[in-house]
């Protein structure tokens, strides 16, 4: 019984092993190791241009690393067919938008594409699932609206619902809280937190250090295509690390809800 459950839920859902990514001569990621376990909400932080988005899309199997490999449930990610991969990994693009003013329901249903064969229409089960997901993400009232009429917060929720509709094991979200007000930031993070139960996990790129400290189980700190530190939030987000990576003095208030306030630039 025990061995059964161990087999069905691998210890590591997603692993990046010594990953190196290059564009021409420029090194975007070097010697990166990441491990994502079930139940975890993992934060990816670092200054602009550190390589966070590149790392996230590499984890999603959208970039092929020039060295090292990405393992999804202990199997190289290239061994999966694109549809199999898409059923396991949900990727939420930064500031993603729809190119046609389709309805919200249709957009969320696009998340079912990895499960449909070429000629198959979405079944009643697909419709039920999409309905439930829209309910959970608070999109139900929007379902007949055109996606181009949505506000930033609504659009993020709809895009999250679209990603969840693929029923991924690992959700990879690139700055889902960017351009959201504080209320919608908390709502989005609560939804991500709620996703990371049982055998599922989430990797999220964040700029807000307080949000990262508050919600994440573990944090990876990237700078200049290298991994600087990783571990539990308050261990990574210490004043020394932040000063050396961002060049900013911060004040850290530990407590039930941690807060990190930038004070001044050091350079």
């Amino acid at each position: 019984m025990v061995t059964d459950s161990q087999a069905s839920v691998p210890e590591q859902l997603l692993v990046a092993d010594s990953v190196r990514v290059q564009r021409g001569k420029r090194v975007l990621l070097d010697e990166i190791n990441v491990e994502v376990s079930p139940n975890e909400l993992v934060g990816l932080i670092g200054p602009n241009g550190a390589g966070k988005s590149t790392l996230l899309s590499t984890l999603a199997g959208l970039n092929t690393p020039d060295a090292g490999c990405v393992l999804l449930k202990n199997k190289p990610i290239d061994d999966y067919t694109p549809s199999q991969r898409a059923q396991q990994l949900g990727w939420m693009e930064q500031l993603s938008a729809a190119h046609w003013p389709v309805s919200v329901r249709h957009l969320v249903m696009l998340g079912r594409i990895p499960y449909l064969s070429r000629w198959q229409s979405p079944s009643d089960k697909d419709h039920e699932l999409v309905h439930d997901i829209m309910k959970a993400t608070d999109c139900l009232t929007l379902q007949d609206q055109s996606v181009t009429t949505l506000s930033g917060g609504e659009l993020t929720r709809v895009m999250l619902a679209r990603t969840l509709a693929s029923e991924p094991s690992v959700l990879l979200a690139d700055e889902p809280t960017a351009a959201l007000d504080i209320g919608h930031q908390l709502q989005t993070m609560d939804l991500l937190r709620a996703f990371c139960t049982y055998d599922r996990a989430c990797v999220v790129v964040l700029h807000d250090l307080s949000l990262a400290a508050r919600y994440c189980d573990r944090i990876y700190l990237l700078n200049d295509s290298h991994m600087i530190a990783s571990g539990v939030p308050m261990a990574v987000l210490n004043t020394d690390n932040i000063r050396s990576v961002y060049g900013v003095e911060i004040s850290v208030q530990n407590g039930e809800i941690p807060s990190l306030v930038p004070l001044r630039r050091t350079q």
Binding site: A86, W100, H106, L107
Partner: protein, 333 residues
């Protein structure tokens, strides 16, 4: 609620195509009513009416249906692929490449001795132009690069045609070449229909089943890729389909502008802006529009017969302008 509108739209457009086809069979210098005309196609009689039906109006009507469907379908596919309502088969050079190929054959007079060489040259020209656009734009490049490459190849094709016109041996040859590029459905025979049909059908078949992938592209290339869509393969497939189908059509009819642009755009709101549902609806719409335009040029009293490509351009160009102005105002990409 919206689900039921698709078959309904198909039925309406299908009926429109049938009605217009019947009208197209009965309109002309010799007025023959629809029912007798249709019965005469299948009769063995050799009276004037039956011959007109079989040799003149039937090919003309069939070509309008096939070419119109091709333009509408390929327009919808290109717009879905490039996620741009201003895209059309002409944009990636398929149409002008085909025209250059066909005009080259006409120029050297081979068309007289080997009539089938014209559509073949058209298709080759179309494939070549599309391949050049594709190579110029690169495998993973963005939509803007692709459009710029299309503009460049279109310019080259136009330059080639100008060169041929410049060196045309006689004013009659110039006239023939120019008239050919205008786009016309008259004086076509059933053998023209058989000539264009194989390649257009292959093109259509290649576009069967791309609908869902085009739907996924609504979310952008990267997200579509994350949903398991192989974007490079999809792009190749649509490009080859469009150049085969449009190449064969243009080689038979000459350049008929704006149908591939206008039809998908008009029908898009009725299918909830979903690229997949737009594809085959646009094929029907394209047929209906080209049939209507071709009936129009026969009914509009002009000193010499007006070419159908001229009519679609006269109506289409202002519409295109309106589209640009509106897309600027709405600001959707």
């Amino acid at each position: 609620m919206r689900v039921s509108t698709i078959p309904f739209l198909h039925i309406v457009l299908g009926l429109a195509v049938i009605t217009l086809a019947a009208l197209s069979m009965s309109v002309g210098a010799e007025s023959i009513d629809v029912l007798t005309s249709i019965s005469r196609i299948f009769s063995d009689s050799n009276d004037v009416g039956a011959v007109i039906m079989r040799e003149v109006r039937l090919p003309r009507t069939l070509i309008a249906i096939i070419a119109g469907a091709t333009l509408g379908l390929c327009g919808a596919a290109m717009q879905g692929l490039l996620r741009n309502p201003l895209a059309s088969p002409g944009l990636v050079g398929s149409a002008s490449g085909a025209a250059l190929g066909a005009v080259t054959i006409l120029y050297f007079g081979a068309g007289v001795f080997h009539p089938q060489s014209v559509p073949v040259a058209g298709m080759l020209g179309s494939l070549l132009a599309t391949a050049i656009v594709y190579l110029l734009a690169g495998r993973d490049s963005n939509v803007t690069t692709l459009i710029l490459a299309g503009v460049a190849v279109n310019a080259m094709a136009t330059a080639g045609m100008s060169l041929l016109l410049n060196f045309a041996p006689s004013p009659f040859a110039v006239r023939e070449l120019v008239l050919w590029t205008l786009g016309d459905l008259s004086d076509r025979s059933l053998s023209d229909v058989w000539m264009m049909l194989p390649c257009t059908l292959i093109g259509w078949c290649l576009l069967i089943g791309v609908g869902r992938q085009l739907d996924a592209l609504t979310l952008g290339e990267r997200t579509a890729q994350s949903l398991g869509i192989h974007h490079g393969r999809l792009r190749w497939r649509v490009f080859i389909a469009v150049s085969l189908a449009v190449g064969a059509s243009v080689a038979t009819t000459g350049m008929i502008g704006f149908i591939g642009l206008v039809v998908p755009h008009l029908l898009r709101p009725f299918v909830g802006y979903e690229p997949r549902r737009l594809l085959w609806v646009s094929a029907l719409g394209g047929s209906a529009m080209l049939l209507a335009a071709d009936i129009g040029v026969r009914l509009i009293p002009t000193p010499t017969a007006m070419k159908v490509g001229v009519l679609t351009s006269i109506v289409g160009a202002p519409f295109f302008l309106h589209l640009i102005l509106r897309s600027r105002r709405d600001g959707y990409r």
